[in-house]
């Protein structure tokens, strides 16, 4: 055994550069893989811990204000809930802080405890007076509101001022960047803030064990039947909240797992190439080893250990590094859930990953090393090295026909002289370039979708009115501004859709909606009253397809609707309906818009417009420039993608570098001969560079369709997780020239990577090489 280690260590010293390539590729692959697996395994736990700790509600139901609270309370027993909270009086309020206005659902509660939905006070205290309010920490952090700040309520005529006295974490709602938020006051404070159309009761239910989606639906159906029709205004399940909490990590996990597999596949390809190359060039050495007493098994061991040892070092660094890299994301989840962050990882899992990584590398190294063990000593010792690869002739001939310079022709032939090595190298290039394609494409797809959701490029100003300021006045103010080019007014009204348990939120438009920028997936945008457009999740849950007519219920009235198109909308995870306001007016004449998307004439000063319109009625109008910024989870995903693309591209470069190193070392004798015949150092570098360029070009060209397909699939996975299908425009985010430029960049990088082995080959000492023969 000692002899094996001594020989292995000696070989490692001799092949430092290759050992470094193995170390780096395994390190990157293991770090990415560990991050993915740690995220995957640990993401669910913190939510579950917080849910139990804060006695989260499995079901939350909003009731209309005219429902009898006694009846509401009785529903807990009706549906078999083991605990309940409420009914709490609640009202939707608008308040002003600085020059910004916000909406919240203010809930009346005496204390933060109880049997369900315990509120975890992270700072400050619970309200003790009617002019005090507690916000969620998520909302405070997002909007930079601190304890002691004063909020002016603008949704009621008296415009009372509230003081923020505390921040809480509520397990029963999503984070502020993804969900609407609640605030808490003493129940006695609510009547002064309520208007008839903004009040409701909120009731929390908890069941003995975690119910499934269908079980919750059954409970909700039972609850509805126990109350007068129309009593239920809305509902929320813990499953949806959990999805919202975990959506970033879920998407990230999917992306990370996919690319970790890529990285590992590329590593296997590099290891196999490397060991094959070493064995090929070491026939004589193998012969000598066998001659002095190494068994075939020991020979294999020596060659495999040369790879396993740097891989072992890489795993020792990579697994902890990956675990560490996952911690900020997990800490983020813990923070959002109100849990104290403690490093979250599993030693057992890390050990498993460690062992798995070593095993994969060991197998990838051992299979080609078997060739060394199986060599007959006399054959090995007499042949000195394996027969030279004879591939690449056709390529060389083709290149010669193109009258390319001879060094280029020779380099092109060398690239495929050993077809298996070339293929394995192509795999690493392919994975690297494909990842780059995804990393370039996905952020653009996200941006397109984000633009459709935020109206970027379609409208520049969003105005929201309070009920105290009439729609007609808003329109008059807006239309009197010289910069106003178009106003689309938006209202909302929940509709019950057959087959869907929760009331569906609608967006009711008045005005020219053709240029609002909503992305269509199939069918068309509505063009007449009665026509509606919906995202995939609603279509799926309601078993609707384009062209179907169905009867919804709004305000207890039947509403005839026909689905004419599928659009993209992440609100409520794809459960919404888009229609002309006239459609709803047929059953709810009182419905009026509350939000206005304003398109300004080109060249208008948006800030000046916002200031001027806001000044018209500072308390009753909220005027702001359309917020088109990318939401935080998407930014995180973009960043992770960028890092992964860098990692895979590096591995790809490592693959090309490794192959060139093997090729140039294997062909050192030929290079020396060529130099003796008059090949200049520059021509030698060109020859090696041509080899690298061709490998990168072929790999890059194959990678483009692979990358585009992967971009397609990931788009679908991410869209589906948000209850949508991918809009076709989100696939087509690449310019024609980019499809050429990306592989060409790959070629450029590969040629740059070829400079080291190229210069090394160019400096070949002809006399020494030929003398050593």
């Amino acid at each position: 055994m000692r002899a094996i280690f001594i020989k292995t260590l000696a070989d490692l010293r001799r092949r430092r550069l290759q050992a470094m390539v193995i170390f780096l590729t395994v390190l990157l692959a293991m770090a990415a893989g560990t991050t993915a697996v740690t995220l995957m395994s640990q993401t669910r736990d913190p939510y579950q811990v917080a849910f139990e700790k804060q006695r989260g509600a499995h079901l939350q139901v909003a009731f209309r204000p005219n429902t009898d609270p006694q009846l509401i309370q009785g529903t807990a027993a009706t549906i078999g809930a083991s605990a309940y909270g409420g009914p709490y009086p609640a009202t939707n309020i608008q308040f002003r802080f600085g020059d910004r206005k916000f909406y919240l659902d203010a809930v009346g509660r005496d204390n933060p405890g109880g049997a369900v939905e315990v509120l975890n006070i992270t700072s400050g205290r619970w309200p003790v007076a009617n002019d005090e309010i507690v916000l969620t920490r998520s909302f405070s952090e997002l909007n930079k509101i601190s304890i002691g700040d004063r909020l002016k309520v603008t949704s009621v005529a008296q415009t009372p001022t509230l003081t923020v006295v505390g921040e809480v974490v509520d397990i029963d709602e999503g984070s502020a960047d993804l969900s609407s938020q609640r605030a808490w006051m003493l129940p006695a404070a609510l009547p002064a803030l309520s208007t008839p159309d903004s009040s409701f009761y909120l009731m929390d239910y908890r069941f003995p064990s975690d119910p499934t989606g269908p079980q919750l639906q059954t409970s909700l159906d039972l609850l509805k039947t126990s109350l007068p029709p129309g009593s239920v205004a809305g509902s929320l399940t813990y499953l949806l909240i959990r999805s919202i909490f975990n959506i970033t990590n879920q998407i990230l996990t999917g992306v990370l797992v996919a690319f970790s597999v890529f990285a590992l596949a590329a590593t296997v390809a590099i290891v196999a190439t490397l060991v094959t190359g070493i064995v090929i060039s070491a026939y004589r050495e193998i012969g000598i080893m066998r001659a002095i007493g190494f068994t075939p098994y020991q020979v294999v061991e020596v060659f495999a250990l040369q790879i396993v040892m740097p891989a072992l070092a890489a795993c020792l660094v990579g697994v902890p590094a990956g675990t560490l890299a996952s911690q900020p994301l997990l800490a983020n989840s813990s923070h959002a859930l109100g849990l104290a962050y403690t490093p979250t990882f599993s030693i057992g899992l890390d050990l498993l990953l460690f062992a798995g990584g070593i095993l994969v590398v060991a197998v990838a190294a051992t299979v080609p090393a078997l060739r060394a063990g199986l060599l007959k000593p006399i054959v090995a010792i007499t042949k000195a090295s394996a027969p030279r690869g004879g591939g690449g002739r056709l390529l060389r001939l083709a290149a010669a026909r193109l009258r390319l310079p001879r060094p280029v022709v020779l380099g092109i032939g060398d690239a495929f002289a050993r077809p298996l090595r070339a293929i394995l190298t192509l795999v690493t290039v392919l994975l690297g370039v494909a990842t780059v394609v995804v990393a370039v494409g996905l952020p653009r797809s996200f941006e397109l979708i984000n633009n459709s959701e935020t109206g970027a490029g379609s409208y520049q100003v969003v105005v929201t009115r309070t009920s105290a300021y009439p729609d007609s006045e808003v329109m008059r103010v807006l239309n009197s501004q010289p910069e106003t080019a178009r106003v689309v007014a938006v209202g909302g009204q929940n509709v019950l859709v057959p087959g869907v348990g929760d009331p569906v939120n609608t967006r009711l438009f008045r005005g020219d909606t053709s240029r609002l920028g909503y992305l269509m997936i199939a069918g068309r945008w509505y063009s007449a009253p009665g026509e509606v457009v919906a995202p995939a999740a609603l279509m799926h849950d309601a078993h609707l397809k384009i062209g179907d007519s169905f009867t919804g219920t709004a305000n207890g009235q039947p509403l005839q609707l026909r689905l004419v198109g599928e659009t993209y909308d992440i609100n409520n995870l794809g459960h919404s309906l888009f229609m002309d306001i006239a459609t709803m007016a047929s059953v709810t004449p009182a419905v009026v818009p509350f939000l206005y998307d304003v398109t300004l004439a080109p060249g208008s000063d948006v800030s000046a417009y916002v200031r001027r319109v806001a000044a018209v009625e500072p308390d009753l109008l909220d005027v702001r420039a359309s917020d088109t910024s990318i939401i935080a989870p998407v930014k995180i995903i973009d960043l992770v993608l960028l890092i992964l693309a860098g990692v895979l591209a590096l591995i790809g470069v490592g693959g090309v570098f490794n192959t060139l190193l093997l090729n140039t070392r294997e062909r050192i004798h030929d290079t020396a001969t060529l130099k003796a015949l008059g090949m200049s150092p520059r021509q030698v570098i060109v020859m090696v560079g041509a080899s690298a360029g061709l490998l990168a070009l072929v790999g890059g060209l194959v990678a483009m369709p692979v990358g585009l397909s992967l971009h397609h699939v990931l788009n679908d996975v991410i869209s589906n997780s948000a209850g949508n299908e991918t809009p076709p425009v989100a696939y087509a985010v690449f310019n024609g020239y980019e499809l050429v430029l990306i592989p060409l960049l790959g070629v450029g990088v590969a040629i740059a990577a070829a400079l080291i082995p190229g210069r090394w080959a160019a400096r070949t000492n002809v006399v020494e090489v030929l003398h050593a023969e």
Binding site: A762, V766, H771
Partner: protein, 262 residues
């Protein structure tokens, strides 16, 4: 064509010293290897005339191959200067040396050193293609002259040793070099094939090709070369211009016995 005929033809057509001009000049050349490679040169001065067939003889490690490498510009002297065709090789950089070899030198190696993944024709064409010229017609002509036109499309692995060395000679000649260097060109061949290769070199010389041959085979050297330089321990110990085969034999015997007595 037998060896004697070749030799006679050489004697008749090679010309004497008169009418020749200097092609290679080594001045006080010393080469010291630090890597443990033997064969250092120690203050060697030498002039080779155009059209000469010069054989450099000596035992292993005497420095004869080093001398050839210095003339080819494959290696640089530790001190002294090497000039070929009036060009001081010491003043050329790596690229300049490569161009110099490409334009002026043809090299025939003991182990042929054909590129295994190129056909015979492609191997022959390489030096011309490195210059950027298309010499397919000349390559085929050379293969024809060397009697191997039928193996043009074969790979080296499918050629006999003699065929491989002929391909190597054709490759060395493709750019019409002013100087043909041959390092033990028969060392890897059987006697019969070796004779054929030497006859070929002799014929080339008769056609005006300057040849510098390194060999340790005295018989070969004296049969074909007009001048035999004996190298020992990095020094020229004898420089014999052979006027007749008889003289040649005696000179060589003298040199060999001196070597033995050292």
């Amino acid at each position: 064509m037998d060896g004697r005929t070749f030799f006679r033809a050489f004697r008749g057509g090679g010309g004497g010293k008169n009418g020749m001009s200097e092609l290679v000049r080594l001045t006080e050349v010393t080469k010291v290897y630090q890597g443990g490679i033997t064969g250092a040169l120690n203050g060697v001065s030498l002039i080779v005339e155009k059209g000469e067939f010069t054989a450099i003889m000596g035992p292993s490690g005497s420095g004869k191959s080093t001398l050839l490498n210095l003339v080819a510009g494959l290696d640089r002297p530790t001190s002294g200067s090497v000039a070929v065709g009036g060009t001081d090789l010491g003043k050329l950089g790596e690229s300049g040396l490569a161009r110099f070899r490409r334009d002026n030198i043809g090299f025939v190696f003991q182990f042929f050193y054909l590129l295994p993944n190129l056909t015979s024709l492609e191997n022959v064409l390489i030096p011309a293609q490195l210059k950027g010229s298309d010499a397919t017609a000349r390559a085929r002509e050379l293969l024809g002259q060397l009697g191997i036109q039928d193996i043009a499309d074969r790979f080296p692995a499918r050629l006999s040793g003699g065929q491989q060395q002929r391909v190597a000679i054709a490759r060395a000649l493709i750019n019409s070099p002013t100087l043909l260097l041959a390092d033990e060109p028969t060392g890897a061949l059987d006697t019969h094939t070796g004779d054929q290769v030497m006859e070929l070199l002799g014929q080339l010389n008769r056609d005006g090709q300057t040849i510098l041959l390194v060999t340790h085979d005295a018989k070969l050297a004296t049969r074909h070369a007009a001048r035999v330089i004996s190298v020992m321990d990095g020094k020229i110990v004898d420089d014999a211009r052979l006027e007749s085969p008889e003289r040649a034999a005696s000179e060589v015997i003298r040199v060999r016995s001196e070597e033995a007595s050292r």
